[in-house]
């Protein structure tokens, strides 16, 4: 379970940052599976792609930690071809936007090869895409494109929220025989958490309940889970029970447990990392509306990015991103909480943040990034 603010309760457990968890997963997978290799622009770079590839070149050499030219389309196809031959490539893009140049390869060749071949071909491929945010990255370096990938049958799409999942799900993605788009929010690289040391791949088996509660079902993904958890914790103190799910896997979407929860609570809020419109929340709400219709007590709600590109200026980012106070407020609305409570909660959640700049994840961090 993610620890908000990185304050683990049990200090005997091992704490890593998300970035360290990724390094550890990659290291262990490469050690265990000679077919696993890493490739990408900057795979060998001295800063280790935000610290997520640090030490791998030294350990495994340039044949297995391959630096790529700026040729996203061709090297994605190359990875697919290698996967068809039984290798297990791990591609990394420092920004999800660079993968747009490889959409044809991903959507046609990676996603469909298994299907078209009637199950004969396999594409055990992982594409790590880093989703930027903050420090004025702006319109072409901080999109969150999970809904694009999630619309493609044949791809799997994973959105880890915490260090343990970054490790476990990355191992699970590497062991999976399908092409997996592994979406890493930059801020989950910084967040710390307990990470078990061993080789323990987690299957890509869908959402995890992070908190139990009877009043409202909340589904968040990736970094937004941390914001939602903060809101849920504060609400619990007020006696409002949030059944909080970390979505984890957006495709194939496994909603059984979430729908069962909605059937119980009658209330649903989704919190998307990317845009609200045409986002993951649309699919989840549509499914809930169709499949738990009779149990719904209130209109389901979605939170997510507004319907415009990401502006660079921090003044505009201020109203762009969803944070825990808004999540808390939306939940209050959903459960029909008293206005005083809503106001108080928003204030409380905001209070812990007033000294944090909006555009960086942690005050000790100095740009650029």
């Amino acid at each position: 379970m993610p620890e908000v603010d990185g304050k683990p309760k049990d200090r005997s457990k091992r704490i890593l940052t998300g970035a360290q968890a990724i390094v550890e997963a990659t290291e262990q997978a490469m050690e265990r599976h000679p077919e696993v290799f890493l490739l990408g622009e900057g795979a060998q770079d001295p800063k280790g792609i935000f610290g997520t590839t640090t030490g791998l070149l030294e350990r495994f050499g340039p044949q297995r930690v391959m630096e790529m030219p700026l040729a996203e389309n061709a090297f994605t196809g190359m990875a697919i071809g290698a996967a068809l031959m039984g290798q297990r490539p791990l591609v990394v893009h420092q920004r999800v936007e660079f993968s747009l140049l490889a959409m044809e390869q991903l959507l046609n060749n990676a996603a469909k090869m298994h299907y078209v071949s009637g199950g004969k071909h396999r594409v055990p491929l992982v594409i790590r895409v880093v989703v930027g945010r903050g420090w004025g990255q702006g319109p072409a370096h901080s999109q969150s494109l999970e809904s694009l990938f999630s619309a493609v049958p044949g791809l799997k799409v994973v959105l880890p929220s915490n260090a343990a999942d970054l490790k476990g799900l990355l191992l699970g993605a590497i062991e999976d025989d399908n092409p997996v788009v592994f979406i890493e929010h930059r801020w989950t690289h910084y967040a710390t958490g307990h990470v078990p040391p061993g080789y323990a791949p987690l299957p890509l088996d869908g959402p995890r309940r992070l908190r139990e509660g009877g009043d409202v079902t909340v589904v968040a993904s990736s970094y937004m889970t941390l914001e939602a958890l903060q809101a849920a914790n504060a609400l619990a103190n007020q006696g409002i029970g949030v059944d909080l799910f970390d979505l984890r896997v957006a495709r194939p979407l496994q909603l059984a447990e979430i729908l069962a929860s909605v059937a119980r609570t009658g209330r649903l809020l989704t919190v998307d990392l990317g845009s609200s419109s045409f986002g993951l929340g649309a699919e989840i709400v549509a499914r809930a509306a169709s499949e738990t219709f009779d149990s719904l007590k209130a209109a389901p709600r979605r939170l997510g990015l507004p319907d415009h590109p990401t502006p660079s200026s921090r003044a505009l980012a201020e109203v762009f991103y969803i944070r825990s106070p808004q999540i808390g407020a939306a939940i209050c609305d959903l459960v029909g909480a008293k206005p005083e409570l809503r106001g108080q909660l928003e204030e409380e959640l905001q209070a812990g943040r007033d000294d944090l700049p909006l555009d960086i994840p942690h005050p000790s961090f100095k740009g650029p990034f």
Partner: protein, 332 residues
């Protein structure tokens, strides 16, 4: 193009080798002609891109390959698939949308593959299979295997960014990959000169320090020779090569018919290329060298015809995939 006799000299091939090449040429031709002849029955309900006229490229390129070597192909994949040893019955069944097709009917004519024969994939997006070829070659390199990958593509693909990115990558990583370019002068209805500057097409390779072997694409021996050099280089760990050949598509871009009446190709161009027929020229050379008798030739043709007849009969009798099976194999 050349219409003269194909010279058998300088080839170190045995009579058996030469006859194998001839048989393969003839077989591809007859299969494609059979598809054309039967297409109007509307049992093959998928697009077909025939390679009639281009047989020597496919056959000459695949002849130096071992079974373990792999190829990737394009929308125009019948010839490559067959030349590499792909199963005819499964190909014809695939084009008929049958469960017994090489993709179980899921791909149709533009997605032919055959794992046993080393046809990894055919892909209908122009240029899209070339990067797959890189990956196959990379896997050979990583696995320490002495095998070679061949990526087939047309003159149109040279305009795609993917091809240039691939050439650069293959050279930088010295991948055991042969880029095999069949220049048939057209992309659908558009001639080369409307799409690319005038220059020898193979020159694009110099941008990437990619070595080049050129050959008359309607001379199966010349194609074989050029490819063999490239394959040997790749096998020895000396990296990729572009093999560039000129050839010509006789029939329409997609479909069974002749379409010269549309006027997109200069009058007489087709006739000239037909005079350079890769099958007839080689047949004549073998005949004049006394290696191929009329009876021999006729027995080859008859054997092919029988094989084709059977393949179509089997395909037409084969079951369609069960509708419910459409949802199988989305994920491994």
């Amino acid at each position: 193009m050349k219409t003269d006799l194909i010279s058998l000299e300088g080839s170190d091939l045995s009579t058996e080798d030469l006859l194998r090449l001839y048989r393969n040429l003839l077989r591809v031709r007859l299969i494609e002609e059979a598809i054309a002849a039967r297409y109007s029955a509307q049992e093959m309900r998928c697009p077909v891109h025939l390679s009639v006229g281009q047989e020597a490229a496919a056959v000459g390129a695949c002849d130096p390959l071992t079974r373990e070597d792999r190829i990737v192909s394009t929308h125009r994949c019948h010839g490559h698939y067959l030349a590499k040893g792909g199963d005819l019955t499964r190909m014809i069944a695939e084009i008929h949308g049958r469960a017994t097709g090489c993709c179980g009917g899921r791909g149709g004519s533009m997605h032919l593959f055959d794992d046993d024969a080393g046809v990894v994939a055919s892909v209908p997006i122009v240029g899209s299979s070339v990067p797959l070829g890189l990956g196959i070659a990379l896997a050979f390199q990583q696995q320490g295997l002495p095998h070679v990958a061949v990526a087939f593509f047309g003159d149109g693909a040279v305009e795609e960014g993917a091809l240039h990115e691939s050439a650069n990558l293959a050279v930088v990583h010295q991948l055991p990959l042969v880029f095999f370019l069949e220049n048939n002068l057209y992309s659908v209805y558009t001639p080369l000169q409307d799409r690319q500057p005038e220059r020898p097409l193979a020159r694009f390779a110099s941008a990437h320090e990619l070595p080049v072997e050129e050959a008359d694409g309607n001379d199966v021996l010349a194609v074989r020779r050029a490819t063999a050099v490239a394959v040997e280089r790749a096998r020895q760990g000396e990296g990729p090569t572009l093999v560039a050949v000129n050839t010509y598509r006789w029939r329409e871009h997609c479909g069974p018919a002749y379409d010269d009446h549309l006027g997109y190709r200069p009058e007489g161009e087709l006739a000239k290329w037909q005079a350079a027929c890769p099958v007839a020229r080689f047949e004549k050379a073998l005949t004049e060298a006394g290696l191929l008798s009329k009876e021999h030739q006729e027995s080859f043709a008859a054997a092919c015809a029988a094989e084709i007849e059977t393949a179509f009969r089997v395909a037409l009798q084969a079951p369609f995939p069960r509708p419910e099976s459409a949802t199988d194999h989305v994920y491994a």
